[in-house]
Structure formats: structure tokens, C-alpha cells
């Protein structure tokens, strides 16, 4: 490659880097300021706008000590991790049935699965709210977690992988008298760790970032999750900007770490889910 076009490419990459990072770096920097400093240095622009001169953890300690972010973060983790656990078990079981058995109705049922993940959540959110109201699951962990467990996309990801596993593996185990449950748990699941990581990651991020459903299905503070808490911040404590910046950093840092750590699995999961269309 010519060195001029190479430098052009690096320049474009750097501009994009600034566009992506600017809001996040500014939030990070501002989260370490005392609240007065944010307003004092924002205009006119100087080096003090971007570098905190009085570094303080005040915003973070305030969030946890005064605004109840401890339970909020714990709640969000609890909901996301519980969903991941049940989602991995139930959806992989269903995928196992679809991939390794021939049975009556399998095509129709798989069609329903595909159809279900083409229906965006927003479309069903209001009737789902009525349903939850009927069961009495408004303002409960059940309402927050259970509707998110069964997931057509996760079934699809597992099925793709199971289809490629040789049938002889299962037949041999059957001849030795292993039960189906034992084959699934002892042979199949240990082989598909990469899919499990992808599926768990996508499910976790989906639940961590979900906003509309927790907003609809919960009322009390006891069940508040981080996305809803931050959206309420804008009306409740509109001037505590350092805390708002700190709260966004907390909400962002968890999925950032997970995505960067498991980047390979994330890309695989995303790319495979995209290949369903055709």
C-alpha cells in the first residue's frame, strides 16, 4: 500500500476514535470532579475543561451512599445472571431436541421459534403487561426475569452447533445405556462451550441494557434496575451532573469489559444470528 493512502486511513481511524470515545472520556473525566467544577470549567473551553484539577470519588460514593445504587447494581446483576442461567439451560435443551430428534410437529414448532424472535419486544410489551397484571407479577422478580428466559435466538444458535455434532457420538452412548438427560448434560453440553459463552454474553447484555420492560413491569424502588434508575436521575436530581456521569460510567463499564474480554465469542454470536435470514 502506498504510504500516503496508509496515512489517510490512519487519519480516518483516528477521527472515528475521537467520535466514539469523546462522550465516554468526557463522562469519565467529569465523574471524578466535584459538582461545582463541572459547571465552572465548561465554558469558556480550556485545558481545565478536560482534565479534573480536584480529583474526587465523591460522585461514586454519593451514588452508593445516598442514591441507593448498591441495591440497584446488585438487582441488575441478579436479574441478568438469573436470566442467563435459565436461558442457557432451557434453550439448549430445546435446541438439542430440534437438532437430534425427528418428531411430529418439529418443523412447525421450529417455525414458531424463528417467528418468535422476529417479533420485536416493543410490539408485545403492552399485552405482556396485561398478562403480567393478570398473573400478579407486576413489581416482582418473576415479571422481570421469566419473560426473558425463553429465547428463539439462543435456540437458533445452539441448534446450528448441535447439527454439526456427529450422531455416532450419541449412538455410542445410547448403546452403553446412557439416558438422554445424561447424553445432553455429559456429552453435548461440554462440547459446546463456545456457543454457551456467546449465548450467555448476548443474553446478559440484552438484560443489562433492557429499559422499556423494567420501566413497564416494575413500580417500587426495590426492583429498580440501572437503566431505569439513570433515566429517572434526569428528573430527580437534575443538577448532580457529576453523579449522572458516574452512573453512566457504571452502567457502561460492565458490558464494555465483557465485550472486550469475550470479543471473539461476541462476534461469533452476532454473526451467526445474522445468518438466519436467507
Amino acid at each position: 500500500m502506498k504510504s500516503t493512502s496508509k496515512w489517510l486511513l490512519y487519519t480516518i481511524h483516528l477521527v472515528l476514535l475521537v467520535i466514539v470515545f469523546f462522550p465516554l472520556i468526557f463522562a469519565l473525566v467529569s465523574s471524578f470532579r466535584p459538582v461545582d467544577d463541572i459547571f465552572r470549567y465548561v465554558s469558556p473551553i480550556s485545558w481545565r475543561t478536560f482534565i479534573p484539577t480536584d480529583f474526587t470519588w465523591e460522585a461514586y460514593t454519593n451514588l452508593f451512599a445516598l442514591r441507593g445504587y448498591g441495591p440497584i447494581v446488585v438487582n441488575t446483576f441478579f436479574i441478568a445472571l438469573t436470566t442467563v442461567l435459565f436461558s442457557v439451560i432451557f434453550n439448549s435443551m430445546a435446541a438439542f431436541a430440534f437438532a437430534k430428534f425427528t418428531f411430529k410437529g418439529s418443523e412447525i414448532l421450529f417455525g414458531l421459534v424463528i417467528f418468535s424472535f422476529m417479533i420485536p419486544f416493543e410490539v408485545i410489551s403492552i399485552p405482556l403487561y396485561s398478562l403480567m397484571n393478570g398473573i400478579g407479577w407486576i413489581d416482582s422478580y418473576y415479571g422481570l426475569i421469566i419473560p426473558g428466559i425463553a429465547n428463539g435466538l439462543v435456540i437458533f444458535l445452539y441448534r446450528q452447533f448441535f447439527m454439526d455434532l456427529p450422531m455416532s457420538l450419541i449412538e455410542a452412548a445410547r448403546l452403553e445405556g446412557a439416558s438422554w438427560w445424561k447424553i445432553y448434560l455429559g456429552i453435548i453440553m461440554p462440547l459446546c462451550k463456545p456457543v454457551t459463552i456467546s449465548a450467555a454474553l448476548l443474553t446478559f447484555i440484552f438484560q443489562w441494557e433492557s429499559f422499556m420492560w423494567p420501566l413497564i413491569v416494575t413500580r417500587s424502588e426495590k426492583y429498580r434496575v440501572i437503566q431505569v434508575a439513570i433515566s429517572m436521575f434526569t428528573t430527580e436530581h437534575a443538577t448532580a451532573w457529576n453523579e449522572m456521569f458516574a452512573a453512566t460510567i457504571i452502567a457502561v463499564i460492565v458490558p464494555v469489559i465483557l465485550i472486550l474480554l469475550f470479543q471473539r465469542y461476541f462476534v461469533q454470536g452476532v454473526a451467526n444470528s445474522g445468518s438466519k435470514e436467507g
Binding site: 486511513l9 481511524h13 414458531l112 416493543e122 450422531m167 429499559f211
Partner: protein, 289 residues
């Protein structure tokens, strides 16, 4: 290869938990929504009466509804080509081999970790009219400060910009994966035939990329037609209803005015609108026979 056939109830046992969840929490609500749209609330708490298609008829005569249709269409005409076009350009850029490309690719995963609500809260602070950093920068450059979300002329564009900032990286993941599956031999063959850069894109890259491109186009369109959280968090549909998209109007009907019938009718019409547009996109993008 012969799949297992022995005990007939075994596969159903494995299927049961997930399929039960899908049917009850994903499929049933669609029919329930359709059903709900045929009822209207009464003055008695919790009572509702069957009104057939009245909710739909009322909507079609309601200027608020038509304004929402207009805003939703206007936003989508801009946001979908913008996001998909930029995602394609980004994927093409990230596909060019360069020292340190792994690092540059990772960068664009970062906005995926920023949820739509968080992106909104964050950008609202940066774009604040009096104290926001963006206006400070504009002033420092000698430009006039802007009202951004406070103006009925700018609010919708600001929302489009914010969701593009966080969306492009995500959609480019699909397209980059598609680009990497194109065998290099196809480009070599095209180069031997003397094809230029544009011809190689038109004759090799674009046709080979159709599958992920259709997926991205359809999924992004659906998501944007149903966009809700930026309006809820940033503008509540204002100023002057300039960002009152259909989903926001539906949410308000359900949870501000407790009219689940109207809310469901809006969602059903939105669903029909989306289906029409997806069908058109398929027709445009699918290879011709």
C-alpha cells in the same frame, strides 16, 4: 445420517420449558394485543367494553395520530439509509488490512455496550443548552450556540444523531463478518479481468454481501420504527410533538391515559406499516431471477 426415533415423548420433554415460554410470553401476547385493540376502557376501574374497530376509526380521524405517523416516517426515511450506509462504509474500512486494525475494530464495539437510554442521558448532558460541552466548543469556534433538544426543529435530528452514534458499530459487525467470508480468489479473478475498484465493489462485494445486508436492513428498520426510549427520556415526544413517534404515542395511551385499546390499535397499525416496508425492502434487495 439417521436422527433418533425411539421414545416419542423424549424430544417433547426437552422442548417443553423453552417452548412454553415462547408461546406464553412471545406469541400469545400478539393475539392478545389484537384482541385488546377491539376494546375501550370505561369509567369503572378495570372494566372495558367491546367496541369492534372503533379504536382504529378514531385513530384515523385523530390529527395527533397522523402527526405521529408523519414523524415516524420522516425519522425512518433518514435514519435507516444513514445508519446502514455508514455501517457499510465502516465495515469496508475495517476490512482493509492495516497494522493495528484489531485495535481499531475493537473500538467500535464500545458503543454497543452503551445502551440506548444511557447514550441519551449522556448526550443530553453534552448537548445541554447552557452548560453543555458541545455548545462550549461551538462558541469557542466562533459559532452560535444551539438549542438542540429544546427546539422543535432540531430535536428529531439530535435523536437520529445519538442513535446513529451508538448503532453504526453494531451493524458493521454483521457486515464485516460478511465481508470476511468473501473468498479472496473472487477479487483476484476480477482483478485479472481488469475490473476497477468500483466494479469490484459492484460485481463482487455487493452481491456477496446481500445476505447480511438484508438482515441488517430489515432488523435496523424494525428497531427504528419501534424506537421509544430516546423520546421517553429526552423529549417526551416534544417540543410541540415534533418527536412524538407512534411508539411514544402508544406508550402514552397505555400508561398516561390508561387506554390499552388505543395503545394496542396503534401498535397493530405500526406492525402493518413495518410489514409493508420490510416486504418492499426484500423486493428491492433480493437478487432478481
Amino acid at each position: 445420517m439417521q436422527a433418533m426415533r425411539e421414545k416419542t415423548y423424549v424430544p417433547y420433554l426437552f422442548l417443553f420449558p423453552a417452548l412454553f415460554g415462547i408461546i406464553v410470553f412471545k406469541l400469545l401476547p400478539i393475539f392478545q394485543g389484537l384482541n385488546e385493540s377491539l376494546y375501550s376502557p370505561t369509567f369503572l376501574q378495570g372494566e372495558k367494553i367491546f367496541v369492534a374497530l372503533d379504536n382504529y376509526v378514531t385513530l384515523l380521524k385523530d390529527p395527533v395520530f397522523w402527526n405521529s405517523v408523519k414523524v415516524t416516517l420522516l425519522m425512518n426515511v433518514v435514519i435507516n439509509p444513514l445508519q446502514i450506509g455508514l455501517a457499510l462504509l465502516l465495515a469496508l474500512l475495517l476490512n482493509i488490512q492495516l497494522k493495528g486494525i484489531g485495535f481499531f475494530r475493537s473500538i467500535h464495539f464500545i458503543p454497543i455496550a452503551v445502551s440506548q437510554p444511557i447514550a441519551c442521558v449522556l448526550w443530553a448532558l453534552l448537548l445541554n443548552q447552557e452548560q453543555g460541552i458541545v455548545n462550549s466548543i461551538l462558541v469557542a469556534l466562533g459559532l452560535p450556540a444551539q438549542p438542540f433538544l429544546g427546539s422543535s426543529e432540531q430535536a428529531l435530528w439530535v435523536i437520529i444523531a445519538i442513535s446513529t452514534w451508538r448503532g453504526v458499530g453494531y451493524w458493521s459487525v454483521f457486515l464485516l463478518a460478511g465481508l470476511q467470508e468473501i473468498p479472496g480468489s473472487l477479487y483476484e479473478a476480477a482483478a485479472i479481468d481488469g475490473a476497477g475498484r468500483w466494479e469490484r465493489f459492484k460485481n463482487v462485494t455487493f452481491p456477496m454481501l446481500k445476505r447480511p445486508l438484508i438482515f441488517v436492513t430489515v432488523t435496523d428498520t424494525v428497531i427504528n420504527f419501534l424506537m421509544f426510549s430516546p423520546m421517553y427520556i429526552l423529549t417526551k415526544g416534544g417540543p410541540e410533538n415534533s418527536t412524538n413517534v407512534l411508539m411514544n404515542e402508544s406508550f402514552n395511551s397505555a400508561f398516561q391515559y390508561s387506554d390499552l385499546g388505543r395503545a394496542s390499535a396503534i401498535v397493530m397499525m405500526l406492525l402493518v406499516l413495518i410489514l409493508i416496508i420490510i416486504a418492499a425492502q426484500f423486493k428491492l434487495l433480493k437478487p432478481k431471477h
